[in-house]
């Protein structure tokens, strides 16, 4: 097991390094530098500034400097927000994204599993169809259509909730964004859970369990649930990564001060260091999440032992 963890960790290092290198080189293809302002400073000052930020060095040395500061957890200074380092910006935005995205994902997984169980046990009945139809709303409407729809219904037609904005983790402002992120994912989880539970329920050991007279609740919860959960667990990692897209849309649409909003603003302002820092950060988080999910999978499935 520990050898497997170690091996997986060793694979993540080249992944992150490749992304950082690619993005860094991409940024340096652009013409112009941070000090090419309209107000020209004198050549001597410019030279000093460039020396301070190692801009007078060859590219590979600059790259090594960047890697060095990355390893020290320093993402550099923002190009656009004066007085702010990328670290400061991230420190303010990260909790927002984690709370919104994490809550959305957890609710989606739990609700999806529950809906999937209900639909599977009542397979091909009205309950099954209704549950799956409701769950599918989120997967047929893209997030940037569903978001406006939610606002139209729950903020404009029924003035229950604010249509966007943020007030220091006030729950009122978090309901709609979390609902949007949940709806996007719940259908996928629900469908997988339904399919896998139907398959497990028709296997021999379930027939044995039922034949010896166990009540249905025990059969499902004790015997069927664990093997049926495996496919669900295996999609959580990819799902979380693909949810980054809908999370960015959500934060942008509801004007939440999270990482997504930050990266979109950074992109329209062409704030290079900010975008680069965020890409690196999110990639590392995504890779780590994948690792955790794989380990959870190994722990759940007795067939997999590393």
């Amino acid at each position: 097991m520990w050898a497997y963890v170690l091996r997986r960790l060793l694979v993540t290092i080249p992944t992150v390094l490749a992304v950082v290198t690619l993005c860094y080189m991409l940024l340096h293809l652009t013409p112009g530098g941070p000090f090419d302002a309209e107000m020209k400073v004198s050549d001597a000052v410019l030279a000093n500034l460039q020396a301070k930020y190692h801009l007078d060095q060859p590219l590979w040395k600059q790259y090594l400097y960047y890697l060095d500061s990355l390893l020290h957890g320093d993402l550099g200074a923002s190009f656009r927000y004066a007085d702010w380092s990328v670290n400061d910006l991230v420190a303010r935005a990260l909790p927002v994204s984690l709370v919104i995205g994490g809550t959305g994902l957890v609710i989606a997984v739990l609700a999806g599993i529950a809906l999937g169980i209900v639909a599977a046990l009542r397979q091909n009945t009205v309950v099954d169809y209704v549950v799956m139809l409701l769950a599918n709303i989120g997967s047929v409407l893209p997030s940037f259509v569903l978001g406006p729809v939610l606002v139209l219904v729950f903020a404009i037609t029924l003035p229950w909730l604010p249509s966007g904005g943020w007030d220091d983790f006030a729950p009122r402002y978090m309901v709609l964004p979390i609902a949007l992120l949940t709806l996007i994912n719940v259908a996928i989880i629900g469908r997988i859970m339904r399919g896998s539970l139907i398959e497990v329920m028709s296997s021999n050991f379930i027939r044995t369990a039922r034949a010896k007279g166990l009540p249905m609740r025990v059969v499902v919860l004790r015997h069927a649930l664990r093997p049926a959960l495996l496919p669900v667990v295996s999609v959580i990692g990819p799902l979380a990564i693909s949810s980054i897209t809908s999370a960015i849309v959500t934060e942008s649409w509801f004007s939440l001060p999270g990482l997504g909003k930050l990266i979109v603003n950074g992109a329209s302002d062409r704030d290079y260091t900010l975008v680069l820092g965020l890409v690196v950060l999110v990639t590392v988080m995504a890779v780590l999440l994948n690792l955790i999910v794989d380990l959870a999978y190994a722990w759940l499935d007795p067939k997999i032992r590393y």
Partner: protein
């Protein structure tokens, strides 16, 4: 598409798997209907703007935010600058569909070559190529697309490139897997045993069997790619005014949906119909080309 068969076969003519697939596909009403609808949408996007009286960027100060009306063919209404929404939706559809087709083509080419090489070569080449795919999987591709837009500005071809650069991964995996399994099939073994040259095995046994999954995965790619372009446009990182795409129109419409709901309704409807149809066609193709799945 017909192929000669052995003399013992009772049928005078062989049925090619492709003909079977076509019959199966045509029997699928949802898929055939989707093909018709999608063709109509595409035709309307290509030729509609030429036939309609208004231009997509002509501003009419007398017609700001007008609801849909038959007068002047403003069937979808006008936006807050008095531009005809029907023409804008069609022109936006051109951009969205074009990006979808281009990015899909690019990623299919990369994915098929990558997967086929990995599958045929096997060994170290295979493991290196597939590790790269594994690594690319872990990267949140939308962020890379955003980074590209940040660096090079908003250029539609770059958006295509950025989307394509991360859409070929599934294709590569599937093609590799299929190539591996075809390589070890009995009919390939039989062909090898009776001395069929390698190139003919590849041409007659491997490629036709690859085409099925390639077609299926291509049809699955298209809606995803269109969606990604729309997301970028929705975030304000796609095409620039006065040019437009469905994502841009949905974004603009969403901002004023309380006052003029038609501005979000029609573009969102167009996008949804397109995605639906593309998904149905994909399902139909999978059912038709992959009989094992049924």
């Amino acid at each position: 598409m017909t192929r000669t068969v052995s003399k013992t076969d009772a049928a005078p003519q062989g049925r090619s798997p492709w003909r079977d697939a076509r019959v199966r596909f045509l029997r699928n009403r949802a898929a055939v209907g989707s093909v018709v609808v999608l063709a109509l949408v595409a035709l309307a996007c290509v030729f509609g703007p030429m036939l309609l009286p208004s231009a997509f960027d002509s501003v009419d100060w007398n017609l700001m935010s007008n609801p849909p009306t038959r007068a002047g063919w403003h069937l979808f209404g006008t936006d807050d600058l008095g531009r005809d929404l029907l023409v804008r939706t069609l022109v936006g559809g051109r951009v969205s569909l074009l990006v979808g087709v281009l990015a899909t083509l690019v990623s299919v080419c990369i994915g098929v070559v990558w997967g086929a090489v990995a599958g045929y070569a096997g060994g170290r080449v295979d493991s290196v190529l597939m590790r790269i795919v594994d690594m690319a999987y872990a990267v949140p591709y939308l962020l890379i697309a955003i980074l590209v837009v940040t660096v090079f500005g908003r250029d539609i071809l770059l958006v295509v490139g950025a989307i394509a650069a991360f859409s070929w991964l599934d294709m590569a995996r599937v093609v590799r897997g299929q190539t591996l399994s075809i390589k070890s099939r009995e009919y390939v073994e039989a062909a090898r045993a009776i001395g069929v040259p390698t190139w003919r095995i590849i041409a007659q046994h491997v490629v036709p069997n690859l085409l099925g999954v390639v077609v299926i995965y291509t049809s699955i790619l298209v809606p995803g790619v269109i969606l990604t372009e729309s997301v970028l446009s929705f975030l304000g990182l796609g095409v620039q005014e006065p040019m437009t795409s469905w994502g841009v129109l949905i974004h603009d419409g969403a901002a004023v949906m309380g006052a003029s709901p038609w501005m979000i309704l029609f573009p969102a409807g167009a996008l949804s119909i397109t995605l639906y149809c593309a998904n149905f066609i994909g399902d139909g193709l999978r059912d038709a080309l992959d009989p094992k799945e049924r």
